[in-house]
Every structure is written in structure tokens, then in C-alpha cells.
């Protein structure tokens, strides 16, 4: 009997030390029945990509509150692509100004979630991506 459960990596790249948001998301996704691999603070792009590779997750979620998203995101994407993870979707949440959304999407980010996003919205978004991936 096949049992598929959505697996999500929640990581915090860069140097900001505020992980409450990441933990709230991790908890909400767990309560939605997902398996959340939580990697902790201050991860380098290579550490995140390596964890994504080893854990074979469906989605990588980055929490960035430092304002460095336009610098960090392409580096994580690059590190993931270098590991043959081009198809693995990436989401970004945190303090992300609306005007940066198009740039992030261009960098290969599937979903951007700024301040005020509800956990339900993120959950539904991930469930949709995973469902599409599984059917495709």
C-alpha cells in the first residue's frame, strides 16, 4: 500500500536569528499532516541544498527576515540546481516587500509570502503544488 506524505524543508538562510516565524509555519504544516524537516538557523545555501537533496523533499521553504532575500535566494537556487534539483519548487516567506515579488519569481521562486500571510494560505499552496507534482 503506497503512503505518500508531503515532505517540506523549512530553512533559514543568512544571519538573522529570528526563527519564530519558521517554527510557526513548521508547526502549522505538521498539523496539516505534512512531514517538516526543520534545519535551524544560519544555514548557508549549500547546507540548504544538501539537506533538500538528502531528504528528497517536495518543497523547500525559506524564511528570510533580514532583507537579504534578493541576494540569498539566487544562491540557494543555484546550489539546488547544481545538485540536479531544478524541479524542486522553492517558496520564500518573511519580510518581503511586494515590489520584490516579480524579481523573486524570476529567480525561480514558486510562491512568495509576505507579512500578514495566514498559515492556511501557505498550507493550501503547498498541498496544491504537491498534488500537481504527483499527478504530473
Amino acid at each position: 500500500m503506497t503512503t505518500r506524505t508531503a515532505r517540506v524543508l523549512i530553512a533559514k538562510p543568512g544571519l538573522d536569528g529570528h526563527d519564530r516565524g519558521a517554527k510557526v509555519i513548521a508547526r502549522a504544516l505538521r498539523d496539516a499532516g505534512m512531514e517538516v524537516i526543520y534545519t535551524g538557523l544560519r544555514q548557508t545555501p549549500d547546507m540548504i541544498a544538501e539537506a533538500a537533496l538528502q531528504e528528497d523533499v517536495d518543497v523547500v521553504g525559506l524564511s528570510i527576515l533580514s532583507g537579504a532575500h534578493l541576494t540569498l535566494v539566487p544562491r540557494v537556487r543555484e546550489a539546488m540546481d547544481a545538485r540536479d534539483l531544478k524541479d524542486m519548487p522553492m517558496l520564500v516567506g518573511g519580510i518581503i516587500p511586494d515590489e520584490d515579488k516579480p524579481a523573486l519569481e524570476k529567480m525561480g521562486v514558486t510562491g512568495v509570502f509576505g507579512p500578514g500571510t495566514s498559515t492556511d494560505e501557505i498550507r493550501d499552496f503547498i498541498l496544491k503544488i504537491v498534488a500537481e507534482k504527483r499527478s504530473g
Binding site: T2, T5, R27, L29, D31, G33, M34, E55
Partner: protein, 339 residues
């Protein structure tokens, strides 16, 4: 041979990761993959690490990885965390303690959620161990929270079992003595830099002495199975019986780690040199075959049984028309379970 299996044997980490997912999800491709990989297994040494939450298992695994890497050995890690009984979800956080090995190609860490399906975790863990083995890892560390039978079944797939305790949990010796303690090949008192470590060590040693083989006749319990040991001449007694050592460690200071590594090697040598490995393997394989048979028969029965019939029986049991065992007999006689 399937493409994924071929890539794995060629050293692809992506293939290793994908195959672990197929195994864990029990996908249709899994049996063929395992059949292809099985001939390439049997070279790694598997160490199970279990103990109560918060005893420092992940940190201990982290320093063990470091020590094995310093010896030039490659390490695969399977870290099992519980699933929520309510949502089925899980937060897998063991990697946090092991992040320093992130860039090392000789280390591969995989988190697994217990998921709680009927005997499925034990199967998935055994298969995952073999996937790491086929990928060529020298040491495979399986870490799991020691709470119940499920976890005992997981670590039983290991060749050397380490049970981790911490000071201040001394009163729990009573609670664990009937379960997890007797499967230990090595007992570790971690966080030994904290007060109370000596008492914990004394408590564990006292427990072990209670089970110490007498001169007349002895029973050893290896991996949870009681096996009668023939009465041996006094001179041979020490060679034939493994008495679990109690080691104090402090992961953060790397204290006691060299001794732990030495004892793991000693246990490996003990099993290999005394010709016990074949007998132990046979018992483990027998157990595994029965476990898989049980799961397969159950699946076959479930497939062959119309859900409506089950619902009808459920209603009749609830209304006291029929007892549960008779309901099962009805299912067994009416559905022969042929695919």
C-alpha cells in the same frame, strides 16, 4: 536492473535519496529496487541508537559521525522521529544537531517519520538500511526515540544496539528495565558532565548484574530474543557472553567517544569471532520473513475484502450481534485472499 538502482551503485546521491523515498512510501517500484540492490548489501555495520527523548541521541550521533569520518569511514544516518497521532504530520529536527557534516560527501543523513502504519516502519527502516549499505556506506547509524515496541523493532535491525540514558533520569531505570534496557549491547550515560551521572551508572550496572549469567546455566538475551546458552567450561564463559558495558559520554565535549567507538568495534569483533553472526542473522531473517509475510497477507486480505462487508461486520459487532473474533473468522472464510 532499474535505472535508479544503477545510478545508486554508481554513487549518485540523488538516486540514493529518491530510492529512500520510494521505499518509505512503499511505491510500486520498491520491490524491484530492493531485489536489485540486495546482492550488493551485507558489507556495512549497522548501529542502532535509542533512548528517551532529550538524552542527547542526536548529539551523540553527531560526534560518532565525526569520529568515524576521522578514521576515513563513510557514514549513513537514518534518524526516525515520531509522527503526530492526530494529524499524521511530523517535525523532523535531528539534522539540526548534525549540520556540521553538511558539506561532507562521506556523510548522508536522512530523516524518517514513524508514520505509524502497521509494521510498515520496521520494513521501511530495514530496507532503508540496505539501500545505504548498497550505496557503500561503511557505518550506518539508526537513531530512534525509545518509547515502545515499534522503536524496539527498528533498532533490532541493527547489529550493535546502543541505549542512551542521561543523569537525573535514574528513577526511570525501573520503567525501562522491562523494555529497552534488555536489548542493549552497549549502555551509554550521556551528559556525564552533569551531576548524578555516577548514580545513573551505578543504577544501570546494578540492573545488569541482576541479569548476570550464573555459573550453572545462563540465558543471554540478544536483540530481545532469549536464547539458551549451553553450560560452558568456566574458562570459556567470558568469551561466549557479551556483557553490555556502561560508558559515560559527554557529546558536546566529545568525552568518552573514543571508548564508545572501541566498544562498538569490540562488539562487532565479538559477534564475528565467535561465529555468532550467522546464527544471529538467521534469527533476524526469520523474524523479518514472518513480519513481511504478516504484512503481505494482511494487504492481500484487505484487497480481497469488499469494504461494504467490513462495514456491515463493524455494525454487527457494535450492535452485539457478533463478537470481533467471529467477525474476523467470517472475513477469512468468505474471502480467500487470492489476488
Amino acid at each position: 536492473m532499474t535505472d535508479w538502482a544503477k545510478s545508486l551503485l554508481e554513487g549518485s546521491r540523488r538516486a540514493l535519496s529518491r530510492i529512500l523515498t520510494f521505499i518509505e512510501n512503499n511505491e510500486a517500484s520498491a520491490p524491484a529496487l530492493m531485489a536489485a540492490l540486495y546482492p550488493h548489501t551485507g558489507k556495512a555495520w549497522v548501529v542502532g541508537i535509542t533512548g528517551a527523548p532529550g538524552t542527547g541521541k542526536s548529539s551523540l550521533v553527531n560526534v560518532l559521525i565525526k569520529a568515524y569520518r576521522a578514521q576515513g569511514r563513510t557514514v549513513g544516518v537514518i534518524a526516525v522521529d515520531p509522527s503526530s497521532p492526530f494529524s499524521g504530520g511530523a517535525i523532523l529536527g535531528d539534522r539540526v544537531r548534525m549540520e556540521e557534516h553538511s558539506g561532507d560527501p562521506g556523510v548522508f543523513i536522512r530523516s524518517m517519520a514513524a508514520r505509524g502504519n502497521l509494521g510498515g516502519l520496521s520494513r521501511a527502516t530495514r530496507d532503508a538500511i540496505r539501500v545505504f549499505d548498497a550505496a557503500g556506506f561503511d557505518m550506518i547509524l539508526v537513531e530512534t526515540v525509545g518509547a515502545g515496541q515499534n522503536e524496539v523493532d527498528i533498532v533490532r535491525a541493527a547489529q550493535t544496539i546502543i541505549v542512551v540514558e542521561a543523569p537525573g533520569m535514574g528513577d526511570d531505570v525501573q520503567a525501562i528495565k522491562a523494555g529497552i534496557l534488555e536489548i542493549a549491547d552497549i549502555l551509554v550515560v550521556n551528559k556525564a558532565d552533569r551531576p548524578g551521572a555516577a548514580q545513573t551508572v551505578r543504577g544501570l550496572k546494578a540492573m545488569l548484574e541482576l541479569g548476570h549469567p550464573s555459573s550453572k546455566e545462563s540465558l543471554i538475551s540478544h536483540h530481545g530474543r532469549l536464547t539458551e546458552v549451553p553450560v560452558l567450561p568456566a574458562t570459556n564463559t567470558h568469551e561466549a557472553i557479551w556483557l553490555p558495558p556502561v560508558i559515560q559520554t559527554a557529546s558536546l565535549e566529545q568525552k568518552g567517544i573514543a571508548e564508545l567507538i572501541t566498544q562498538i568495534e569490540a562488539h562487532r569483533t565479538f559477534l564475528t569471532d565467535n561465529g555468532k553472526t550467522a546464527a544471529i542473522q538467521d534469527r533476524a531473517i526469520e523474524l523479518e520473513l514472518y513480519e513481511r509475510l504478516q504484512a503481505s497477507l494482511l494487504q492481500r486480505m484487505i484487497r480481497a475484502t469488499p469494504p461494504a462487508q467490513v462495514l456491515d461486520l463493524v455494525r454487527r459487532v457494535r450492535q452485539r450481534e457478533i463478537d470481533p473474533q467471529s467477525a474476523v473468522e467470517t472475513l477469512l472464510t468468505q474471502n480467500d485472499g487470492q489476488p
